[in-house]
Symmetry: D2
Subunit: 454 residues, 4 copies
């Protein structure tokens, strides 16, 4: 059985180390299903063009459908000796369909196949990714409702800043992921699947033949577009890079969520009760319960960024049209897609089981610093103080409180009035309060956006 699809002009045997080096079957076997689709469409077009007889067509379609069925049942075994998945399937067709297989690759180039296969892969992964992202969003939305009206500590610079609703906090991540969702949807809209580019110069087969032959799957029909530039088609990997860019932003958002939750679950912050099912222990230290899931998500940022950079680097300065360098887009693509999908799957379950440690949060909400801004805003809104002055007054009040180690709410009215004539205990008691802090803000509260599931 041939392990490669070329060689008439070659006299020397390929070097063995090189053959192993250049093989892609160890990873491109993941494209098997889509490669069969390409062949089915191509056979349809060859039959329409009467290059295949009815018998030949039947033999090829039969063989291909058999392989497809094995793939779908998870029973397909790729031949690790083959150069790539295209050669492997070609061989398997030959085993089943005999001589007709010699015509399968008629007027076709692997350059065309591999772009088709990868676009199908990306589309399939798009569908799975957006579902997983929706699930995670649903869990975020639910969690925000479970803890509706619950106050939480808002941070900037990892320092306590102002009181917010917990729902405002967690829906900030909802917002980020919603934008990711929108980016994915727009990406899908722009993705066109073509066929018939040949190696770079187009095909002697009429596009009509292909158009008739695309009834293989709904995804293909929906995305099938007329080929407007064969040279561009075989030599562009924008769709890979664009998908990886979107995944990189999702990954960045997940890394931030993870960092927050790692910190909030330390013994020192202690706001979160992390679900034990997603933590691990230590082989040495018996007491440990570590947020390994969150750490692995944070750490995976390296992999997902690295993959994007890998493909960008590979594509830099490549002359038209196809170059073998492009084979190397697959491993980083697969790595990023699989990582992000795993993270989304597990993060949804993680968020579902996440619990707030309300007592600890309530305790933190007593920190008077959290209300410094509200005091200043009160002076501005109710007492007509210029903001610059109000900021200064409260700054000095804070400094006094820290130096004297006295709570602001325990300072006497007399002393308070030296900071500003209108300051007194009664006002401070009213203002230095989570409910007042949150309700004094008129900006629209975070809403749960509606998902139009794609």
């Amino acid at each position: 059985m041939d392990k490669k699809m070329w060689g008439g002009r070659f006299k020397k045997e390929i070097d063995k180390d090189f053959f192993e080096f250049q093989k892609s079957i160890n990873y491109d076997h993941k494209l098997a299903e889509y490669d069969v689709y390409h062949s089915l469409i191509h056979v349809g077009a060859l039959a329409a063009a009467e290059i295949l007889s009815k018998d030949e067509e039947d033999a090829l379609v039969g063989a291909l459908r058999e392989i497809l069925s094995q793939i779908k049942k998870g029973k397909f075994k790729f031949d690790p000796e083959c150069e790539d998945i295209h050669s492997d399937i070609q061989n398997k067709v030959k085993e089943k369909a005999g001589k007709a297989a010699l015509k399968l690759h008629t007027l076709r180039s692997r350059n065309d196949q591999v772009v088709f296969d990868e676009k199908m892969y990306v589309l399939t992964q798009y569908i799975e990714t957006i579902k997983l992202l929706s699930n995670l969003l649903e869990e975020i939305f639910k969690k925000s409702q479970d803890y509706e009206k619950r106050y939480f500590i808002g941070y900037t610079h990892t320092q306590r800043a102002q009181v917010v609703y917990f729902s405002d906090y967690i829906l900030a991540y909802g917002q980020m992921l919603m934008r990711d969702y929108d980016r994915l949807v727009k990406f899908e809209e722009g993705l066109k699947i073509h066929i018939g580019a040949g190696a770079l110069a187009g095909s002697p087969l009429s596009p009509d033949y292909y158009r008739r032959a695309i009834s293989i799957s709904g995804v293909i029909r929906k995305h099938f577009g007329e080929l407007s530039s064969p040279m561009d088609h075989v030599s562009s990997r924008d769709f890979v890079i664009e998908f990886l860019s979107i995944l990189a932003i999702i990954q960045m958002h997940l890394s931030r969520m993870s960092e927050d939750m790692i910190m909030y679950s330390t013994r020192e912050f202690d706001y979160l009760d992390l679900p034990e099912e997603f933590c691990t222990g230590s082989s040495l230290m018996p007491h440990k319960k570590n947020a390994d899931f969150l750490e692995l998500v944070r750490g995976s940022t390296g992999k997902v960024y690295g993959s994007l950079f890998s493909v960008l680097t590979t594509m830099k300065g490549l002359p038209l049209a196809y170059n073998r360098d492009m084979q190397l887009d697959k491993e980083p693509l697969f790595a990023s897609v699989e990582t992000v999908k795993d993270e989304l799957t597990i993060m949804a379950k993680f968020i579902k089981k996440l619990k707030l440690k309300k007592d600890n949060i309530d305790n933190a909400l007593k920190d008077e610093h959290l209300y410094a801004t509200e005091i200043a805003e009160f002076l501005v809104m109710k007492k007509g103080v210029a903001f610059k002055d109000a900021h200064d007054i409260v700054g000095k009040l804070i400094r006094h409180s820290e130096e004297k180690k006295v709570k602001i709410q325990n300072i006497s009215d007399k002393l308070l009035s030296t900071f500003h004539k209108d300051l007194n205990k009664k006002i401070l008691t009213k203002v230095m309060n989570p409910k007042y802090a949150v309700l004094s803000k008129k900006t629209a509260k975070s809403k749960i956006p509606k998902l139009k599931l794609h």
Copy 2:
């Protein structure tokens, strides 16, 4: 005059080295115009809320309009001693408007300002970039028409592959840049400008006041959206990363175009007559005419990719909400935007003046290798040979031609028939021909897409 906008609670002077290290005025002065817009809208909202008197409003608006006018005339001088552009403009307002300036920053945070300013910058740059991209596309389209029906050598693996139209070649780049165009348009559609997030917890000012105050510019009105998550708003830089991702893909396309043209203009290929205005010489070697423009474009890929990775790295794992790390998104953003705009500007002029060296191209078109695929396709389409066999027959023909150093078209009919019974000189003469090669392809030829200018 204050060089910074905070400090009531601080007892110690800021360290001088640190003050210099943390200053951003040396680059964020580019946001001056947008920072004035933010202040104008904010003043409008403060006036609507009756926090400013009519006199105060007039004083502030007058001062801001004066600064705006200086900026627009290119007469604005930023104060390099200031911490950032926000402090600088605050100070300049104070000089002009006096005491009212103490109220300018009422209920406002720089966190909110800086996102607003950067989004305005990105929008403005989007508009310029898409215009420059359109210009380049126009030049590519024109060039494809200037050389309509002209044959060109199509390459894969930097080896001669098949004959194509020059228009097919150059429109492949047209296709790539059109996708960039579409990506830019979609990016703009998703960009929403907000105001009123405060530091992270929202503002006591009603969104209505802001809505009324946004009549500053068409761009703002078009993109203004209700703030749905203050915490997300101040802490996200997706719009920067997404824009940088799109620029990175544009840059990748430009690097490929440049690589092609560098190679095509070597003494060895010699297909292109590069416009001298964009070449440079050598300080030592008097004969040199180097394609420096193209090399600088190719080399700038480092800068543009590096900028994307810089911001992605900075944003990795940042806890909510604003962190000072985020200040560092500006330099890479500005660097990429300016580089890509320069490249697009000059590339359009470069393409306009680019000429083909027709004799050299015609000479290369005589290379018989270019027609190997057409011979195989002829055997398949007209003589019913299975493709696998046809590929093999032509492979052997090529090997024979190379070993014997004889042109295929000079091989006798008798010898030809030993490769395949139906092969003869007459057929080869017909098939081994640019016109036949190109016309035998039924795939739609590259078309010039219509630009809907945004």
Copy 3:
């Protein structure tokens, strides 16, 4: 005055946009001093070869020394209209030395100059960087001595792990920076400065003439090496990438130190009293004291990593020998060097002023979890329990303590004995103690390494 150093064969004027795009004077003016050195050495060699008369030599040396003196006094003003610093200095020499200047560039290429200049820059920066790194190390060593024998909380996974000495903690960073120090020293050892490569093919001037002429500075003499490959010399930028790689690792270490200190200075951990001089406040929230210095260090990781990848990307796949792409190595080099130097300078001052909040640390040291490992180790070492069993016993003890909300040290002897027969209060009191924990470890304690200053 000529703005560029070539052009005899060119008929057309250079395009203005392109001229601006390709100019490097805005950043390569930082190489002015080193460019004068190159010229001084070159003049010496030309004179030795009798290409320059004594008068010409004197005129040129006089002009160059005058320029050098201006540079050293900070009075040198580069001409922003010039193409690059080489042209600028050539012009300035012409102004001062007249006709002799026409001979300055004899048998010399800018390709040779720019590598020389950049290597000199890198060497100079190496010297400054290693001094700053030494300063920081000294401060770390001092701080470790200031807090000798003070216990601290050791973390893994950001969860409390075991008790350590504070000196062990801070000297872990000392170790990292010492390795950076060693890497810098080794880098310097490998750096050779050459001269006389011409554009790529070498120079008609004998190396002897150059050897005689290098008495310009000690740094040059120390690093001067015989040119063994002109083509490699003009086309390699390994020394830039290697320096940037070392800076990237330093930056990574600084980002980790910063992250730790940001976290330890939160209201929740509260182990550190950050020196106010390196913190900033908020324009809105009067109470804020943010660790902006540390955040900017952490955020600068984007810039420093981005610079490394920028140059790596630019150098990918460049054919021999010099290509114009290489001009783009300077901005990322300068950016990384300046950033890391600033960080080291300020971090040394920061560490010097950093104080521990001893009460808070002592409080945290009471956390019983910190001693779980010591209990297990005690069972293994003193009671012959298999470690696997000991780990399990203590794990259950911890779980009991958490579920019943009881301190381990308050559990009765009777109940303790159900976990393991040899467990009792007395033993636990002995073992669950910082002193015991630290002294039970036999691994050598962190030592302060000796710096051999370079």
Copy 4:
């Protein structure tokens, strides 16, 4: 059999998706051999400390040696259900050694094991890499000798520049790879292997016990160093990043070599006869012989740069000490190492079989442009013309030759004298000649450096 090494305090079963996500056995099984070494040393130390009885020691050593023997014979099968290779080996020891296995992990942490294992991996790979690099250098040196004194075309900006020796050309790559060689040697010198760090706080076992137990292998003995900072030891991955940085520079050099050879083997340059064993054909175009090996090397730059960036990103801002993120350093490390080793292996064979196409090179050497610099240098050296003038004179001569389409050597003496009075045919014939060009350079010719094999 336990699939993980912790859990006493946990009540809930680990989530299955998370367990799969966090497993590392699919890649860290490559560390099996080194993990056994760690255990052997550790058992030695435990026995010395009398924590193990002689029987227990024998049982454990026996089991470990059995596993080691399987690994070395390639018969070791890792259990894909296990969490990591450490758990897997622990389980296999238990099967063989029974109860004694419960003591194997006494006073040991996986944090310590994994750094040991990875350092051993890196050292082993260092040894293989430097051997492969030496082989490649040998082939380069041989090739330079095979073609001694052969002239070649030197390029800058991918434009013909000046004549060089082919040996000067190829030894430029020799120089680059020699620097890589030196960098590797220095890297090895700095690599210290430690043991006994515990999880972060050190071990109750005396370092003496470890020192006595390290007689496992020469590599370990040579690199074993006293542990000076347990916290640094378990939390640093500098050695991974430094190794990846060196590999990235090697990769960059290989990408440049590949780019050159791809170009030189085009139909247009046609200087090289690429060994067919390392080329592939096209599935569609029968004539194709593509330099796929070189393209894959060039393309792999994405992978190798991406791996470096991946680990740098992962390590950014990680708090001390160990964090689970660090697990993700292995896949990029392995990917880069394996890729670079494959490239070096095949490139050595490739270079060995590479042939110059002498006729084509000789033809190119007739290009008069190649000697423009020599004419100018002649005027300077022999006729006392100022270089600036000589450059100009030759520039005009070139322009004349191009415009009039006349060879410089065919211009009449009379006309020549109008360019410069001393120019004539005789002189030009002498100067415009490869031998003259090369011999006129006094810079030391490239030498073959001596390899001190490590």
